[in-house]
Amino acid sequence: MTAVVEFDAELPWQRARSVALRPEPFGALVYSFSTRKLSFLKSKQLVAVVESLGEHPTASAALTACGVSDAQRPAYLKALADLARSAMLEVRA
């Protein structure tokens, strides 16, 4: 069992290459072809963050660019941590 590692928002992240994302009315569905896991992203804003991660130097920057407020930030960081833990996100080289 791996230890829970804090999500490092100061690293450059991206959607994992083996992951497909499909927008839906409520947000999006994300499917990992390597783990066969399916996740549900519950807000359009979170979808925008995940889609734009690859374009920003850090996850923090992506959150800011997508207009995530200070009040929402902890929830979004937790969401990104959840996705990283399920191998839906990976650190860019």
Partner: protein, 404 residues
Amino acid sequence: MTAVVPERPVGGRLIDQFEYGLDAPICLTWELTYACNLACVHCLSSSGRRDPRELSTAEAERVIDELQRMQVFYVNVGGGEPTVRPDFWHLLDYAIGHDVGVKFSTNGIKLDRARAQQLAGTDYVDVQISLDGATAEVNDAVRGAGSFATATRALENLAEAGMRDVKVSVVVTRENVGQLDEFKALTDRFGAQLRLTRFRPSGRGAEVWDRLHPTQAQQRELYAWLLANGDRVLTGDSFFHLSALGEALPGLNLCGAGRVVCLIDPVGDVYACPFAIHENFLAGNVRSPGGFQQVWQSSELFAELRSPQTGGACTKCAHFDACRGGCMAAKFFTGLPLDGPDPECVQGYGETALAARAGDLVTPRSHLDHSHRGPVRGQPTLLGIPSMPAKICDESPLAGLRPA
């Protein structure tokens, strides 16, 4: 005039969102052919003989193109026996080459060493081997003489080729529920994962359901076994009706027909679910203008299924939230109302409902039957049962002998 579209909630649980429908199905099943080398007694699609109207290779490619546009993640391919279609391997490559993963279910007949090696070297494809007994004796009674050997040979070939994530899918019946540990041992031996699924009274299954479906006591045994072994065993979410026994089993625990799943059949007909091949659950055809997407997104049947469902009598039960009234197909094909209990309701309401059915009730039958007509090599030995019982559940020794 289209139905009023109910307001979709923001956030909340995924299953609440599912009830309002998705832009594309998640577990789409595509039966490629009704042809099959076997004649399993409980076949949900009454397969055996090819249908002359089956989709051509080109038509199948157009469906895959649509699935790609709709961003369907993967498609579950079956039949009949999908590998007996000469273009199966071409369509497999075509799907993968167009961003659609493939999970296919087979009895193993074509999985020789060469094909096993080919599959082991292919990304985005999963294989599932069907097996309904941990021994040839139990398996072949339902699937036919030699079918156990065919399946295990395929499993050996896949293991030898280094194929990963192979699944063995078992339909749980009265005859094999005592073999759960042996099934686990068998799949461990081949490095495969065990999948247990629910036997439903669909297709030819309707004819043997009364004799083969697990008893209430066996359902409780199965539930206990799943709780004890569940982290390593898959269920295709098909035992959610058992969640009313206590702790919910993992999965969505609700009927996804027309909301999350649907079936494309070999002639392009779109049904709400692979267990519901019947005119009442026919939403459209992929050959119509607008193709599959039009059917999935706009058919009347699916709009109906995506509106809030009345649980009817079941909503008063304390366990409703766990079992959501059970399986629509199981209710339909046993002649029970869809807003009442599942025939295998763990609280016993299903048995009561079955007993309360009219004495002269003729349960619904599909308009389709592609079963083999003549004798089949390796006929399942369970075929001693009358194929059209006068009454499901009739305990009278004269059942089936009364004049029509």
